[in-house]
Structures are given as structure tokens and as C-alpha cells.
């Protein structure tokens, strides 16, 4: 098993290299002059030229890329026009917020997706199956930002149960910083009131984020469960007296999960990139909002930083899913 993991990790390096190359190329190809913008509106010609040298834009592209790459490795991801600070520092502040949102959304999507998928497959062509299929198709079509607005309208504006935006009540002091994820940090600090508060702020955005992955996982789970139910070994197990509960829990679930797992992996990556809209609706200070502001200011370093971060996380997480796939599916692990 170990060499399987090592081989996959080694395979990761060229992908990350390719990723950095593509992000650099996109940064350079985008029209708009980063130097002029960095210099600011009332900068003189000389100042702009000096800055161009400082940015290293006068050097050939290959050298620029090399500087960019070495810079990345040494933690210099460029400076942001907005915060004037290094991009890496900003990412350290904003990334945990996005991760917390995506993890919460995926948790909801996976748990309910699997349950609903199983239910729909078992009660095949019954009214439950039919309504689950209809609702999941509608959920996939529901734009996240519109859903966010509706949730805000109902739960925050009319019913007043949830907060309108932000991550934590302003007055209350946040739990000590460990992971940067408020819910987890407050749990680590054993501070239940903060945990509940953080949860209350996380609820609406997480729900808005989780609807489309939930629907997709339901559809995938339903399809793979129906596939498994028709397998011969299910008939054998049933014929030899295995009760339905154990059949579903043990015999169906593990097999159906294997193919649904890849979707969960893919979705985590897509969600990372998709938080932009929900973050702007709920004023959730994550990398999505950070990227949007950077785009509005044509501030390239943060955009490239965010895109590279998401790309890297996406690739790494898919590797984890593949490894988990090996654990669940012995044929893959033992070759």
C-alpha cells in the first residue's frame, strides 16, 4: 500500500508544476497593466518604470517564471494592492473561512446525499423515489446565490433566526486561533457557547453551498445503489437469510460508496472555486470574496494566489479520495 501512496504523491509534483505554469501564463496573458495599477493613479513615469524593474517585468518570460516559482516556494506570493501586504498572509487569514464553509457544506451534502440516494434506490419508482429525483434535479438547477438570498430573506429578514452575514458576533471575542475555523477552534477550546454562535452564522451559507452537491451525490448514490442491488451477490446474501438492515448497511453501502466517492472528491474542488457567490451574499470573509475584490481592482497577485491555492487543494484532495478508494475497494489496494 505504501508504494502505491508514494507513487501517487510523486505523480502529484508534475501536476503542481503544470498548475503553477498555467496560473503564471494566465496572469501574464490577462490584458491590463499590473505595474501601472500597482504604482497607483498619480504615479509619475519614472516611478512606474522603477516599479516595473522591481516587479522584474523587464526580464525575459522564462526568468520571470523562474522567479515566480522560486518566490512561491519561499513564501513570496507577491503583494496585494488592496492590503498592501503579502498575498500569503491574506490567504492564511481568509483560506480557513472558505475551508470551514466548504467542509460544512460537504458534510451536509454527503450525509443527506447518501441517505436520500439509498432511500430513493430502495423505494425504486415509488413516490419517494420520484419526488427525490424531481427535487434533486431542481436543486442542481437552483443558482446558489439566489438560494442564499432566499434563505437570507426567510430565515434572517422575516424570521430573524439566523444572522445576516459575517462569521461571528462582533462583540463576542473569537476562540483562540488554532485552525482558523471558528467552529473547530471553539470545540478545541471546549467553548460550547462560541461553537453554537459560530454554527448559527455558518448555517445559512453552508446550506446555500450544500444544495447542488447534495443533489448530485443523491443522484450518483441512487444510480450506484440500484446498480449494486441488481448484483448477483445481493441475491445470494438475501437468499441465505441476511436481514434487509444489514444488507443495506453493510453489503450495499460499501459497494455503492466506491463510485460515489469520486464525485465527492470532484465536488470538493468545484465548491472551493464556487464559494465566490455565496461568500458575497453572506459577506463571508473567505478567499472567494478576497478574489472578487482583487478582480474588481485588477489586482493580479491575489487572483493567481487564490487560483493556485484552489488548484493545489483540488489535486491534493483528489489524491486523498483515490487513497480512500483503495481502502474501501480491496481490489485496488491489493492489486
Amino acid at each position: 500500500m505504501l508504494h502505491y501512496i508514494v507513487r501517487r504523491i510523486l505523480l502529484l509534483l508534475p501536476v503542481l508544476l503544470g498548475l503553477s505554469m498555467m496560473v503564471f501564463a494566465i496572469g501574464r496573458l490577462l490584458p491590463g497593466d499590473p505595474v501601472l495599477l500597482a504604482a497607483g493613479p498619480n504615479a509619475t513615469k519614472e516611478e512606474v518604470a522603477a516599479l516595473a524593474v522591481e516587479f522584474g517585468l523587464d526580464k525575459p518570460v522564462a526568468v520571470q517564471y523562474w522567479n515566480y516559482l522560486t518566490g512561491l516556494l519561499h513564501g513570496d506570493w507577491g503583494r496585494s494592492l488592496q492590503s498592501r501586504g503579502p498575498v500569503l498572509e491574506d490567504l492564511k487569514v481568509f483560506l480557513p473561512a472558505t475551508l470551514e464553509l466548504v467542509l460544512a457544506a460537504m458534510l451536509i451534502a454527503v450525509v443527506f446525499g447518501i441517505l436520500l440516494g439509498l432511500l430513493a434506490a430502495v423505494k425504486r419508482n415509488g413516490w419517494i423515489d420520484y419526488s427525490v429525483r424531481l427535487v434533486s434535479l431542481a436543486s442542481i438547477s437552483m443558482p446558489r446565490f439566489f438560494l442564499g438570498l432566499l434563505l437570507q430573506l426567510v430565515f434572517a429578514m422575516w424570521l430573524g433566526w439566523a444572522s445576516l452575514g459575517g462569521r461571528f458576533p462582533l462583540i463576542a471575542s473569537p476562540p483562540p486561533l488554532v485552525t482558523g475555523m471558528l467552529t473547530i477552534d471553539s470545540l478545541l477550546a471546549g467553548d460550547l457557547p462560541s461553537f453554537l454562535l459560530a454554527l448559527q452564522y455558518l448555517a445559512l451559507p453552508a446550506m446555500a453551498m450544500s444544495l447542488s452537491p447534495l443533489a448530485t451525490i443523491t443522484r450518483m448514490m441512487r444510480a450506484s445503489t440500484m446498480e449494486v442491488l441488481q448484483q448477483d451477490y445481493m441475491l445470494t446474501a438475501r437468499a441465505l437469510g441476511i436481514p434487509p438492515g444489514k444488507l443495506l448497511r453493510k453489503y450495499v453501502l460499501r459497494n455503492a460508496l466506491t463510485s460515489t466517492l469520486t464525485v465527492i472528491g470532484l465536488y470538493f474542488g468545484w465548491l472551493l472555486g464556487g464559494t465566490v457567490l455565496v461568500e458575497s451574499v453572506f459577506d463571508w470573509p473567505g478567499i472567494g470574496l478576497y478574489a472578487t475584490k482583487a478582480i474588481m481592482m485588477q489586482d493580479f497577485m491575489p487572483i493567481m494566489g487564490v487560483v493556485l491555492t484552489i488548484g493545489t487543494l483540488f489535486v491534493t484532495f483528489n489524491l486523498l479520495i483515490d487513497l480512500l478508494y483503495g481502502v474501501i475497494n480491496p481490489k485496488v489496494r491489493l492489486g
Partner: protein, 350 residues
Amino acid sequence: MSSTLDQGAEMSLLHIQNLHLSMHSFEGDAHVLNGVELKIEKGQIWGLAGETGCGKSITGLSISRLVNTPPARYLDGQILFNGRDVLKLKESDMRQLRGREIGMIFQDPTTNLNPVLRVGEQIADVAYEIGRIAPEILGLTATARASQRKKAAQKLGVDMLERVGIANAAQRARDYPHQFSGGMRQRVLIAMALVGQPKLLIADEPTTALDVTLQAQVLKLLSELVSSSGTAVLMITHNLGAVAQICSHVAVMYAGHVVESGLTQEVLSHPQHPYTRALIAALPKPGIQRGTLSTLPGRVPNLIDPPPGCRFAPRCAQASHECTLAVPALVGKSDTHRIACVHVQPEVFA
């Protein structure tokens, strides 16, 4: 539908009476079983032979009520297992029978074991569930705790694997199905089917997916295990050779109807029904020249609008108008040889 119990005769293990079943599909409703008649006593080893699509598998599955309704629908008839009509049982009662009273083996060993669970665990699961109803199988009393039952089930599982000829069964039990050869997997399935010491074992084409040498071994293993425990067997196959090798009795089915049944020795050496005779004639015998295999003209009837009366009539040489009037009943002086054909009178044959 005669629902009265079969008074006089001592209660047989399995008695399928006049079973009718239709299967709904895109094109329409196919009348798959057309009055199946079959009676199996304790210890007997029956072969259920017929071409593909004659309904033998569905009959086997119906005994353990594993046919999904819909799309299937039982139109008529009974399946009496130890006198109780299986079609009327509550699902929970039916589950008590499966594995404990009725064991089943299916055709393809490569797909009948759960790929993601260890072999030992799968057989232990079966033993554990049976132990819940009949603890004595695991050598425990009813008051045994679940953990005891689990350990005993695992031990019984390993023992069974050994009895079906799997070397150092304890280690092998930890392996996964894909680490076993086809023949070994079929042995595991046999072990799983017999771990509950069932009264009846239904084997649906158990050797069809194996090559010839393995077939003989598996059949030998099956007959040894069964004879020692007195388990009755219903082997569903289209291979008359296999029937001849281990079955004491045989029933020949055509288009959802048993046309001839009785002692294997009797039926195979003196086939009376035209279809059985044609079936046996089609068997290649050693020393025949090339090109002389006789074939049966015509095709299996379309079951959506089946021919009236005897469904073999369209392909039968002695067919007459009388054949088309009604489905001929399976009659015979005794259970040793019964025939369903208007033109063959019972007294004619022994």
C-alpha cells in the same frame, strides 16, 4: 385451485402444485410458468432440466420467494414447503426459512461473492443470522450473547470452508473474493449455502460457469456433502450429463410446464415425451460421425401469446388437434415416471 392439504400421503418436503406466473415487460405480459408440478421428498436429488427460458430458474427462485412482484405476478398454484404455502408467508417468516431451511447456490462464482468483504466475514454473517434463529447450529443455547454468537459463527464458517476443501481455511478466510479461483469461489458458495444445514438446497446451474474438470469435482463435492446430511437438492441445469451424474430424479420442463418427471434412470433411458426424446437425441454421443447431430425444428414459443394447450404442439411430430385443447396434466402410475402428453397413456410405460 385445490387448497386442501394432500391428506393421505405423508407430507413431502416440497410440493409445487399447478404454479402459474406472468412477467410484465415492455412488450406485454409473458405467461412464464404454465402450471408447474413438482414434488420432492427428503434426501432426494432432483434435476430440473430444460432449455434456456423454459422457466426453470424462476421456479427455483419462487421456492425461496426471491422473485420480485412486480414485475412478476403469481396467477395460480401453491408452493408447499413442509406443508406451508411459501407464497402466503409473511416476509419475516420467509426470512426464517432462507439459509436455515433452504440453501441456494447460483451460477457465476465470480459475481456471487461481495467483492469488498472478506470471504470469512461473508460466511460468518450467514452463520450469525442463522444462529439468531437456531443457536444450536452454532452449538450455543438461546441465551448466548451476540459476541459469543459472532465468534461461534466465525468458527463454524472456517469449519465449513475446510469441509468444502479449502486448504488452511483460517488464513484464507481473511482473503477477499478476487484472491480465489473460480472453482474455489464456488466451493465457498457451497459452504455458505450449507452452513445452516438446510433441508433443501437449490442449485441454479452451479457448474455451468466452470470448465469441465472443475464441474466433475464440484458435483462430486456436492453429492458427498448432501448425502452425508440427508439434504434434498433441486439442481437446475440444461446439462443432462450433470443430471445423469448426481441426480436421483429429474423433471424436464418446456415453455413453463413440466412435461416429464421421475427417476433419472427411468426417464433418461426410456424417455416417453417427444420433447424429452428430442432433447436426449440432441446429446452428442461418443463415436458419432460429423454432421449427424439431430436438431429440433422450430423455435421456443413466444410466451406473450403462447400457443393454446400443449405449448410443444407446434414443434411436435405427433401433434394433433386434441393437443391444442388443454394443457395436458402430468400423470403417471407412480412418482417413478410421469408424463404430460395426450398421446402417451400412463399404462403404456412401467
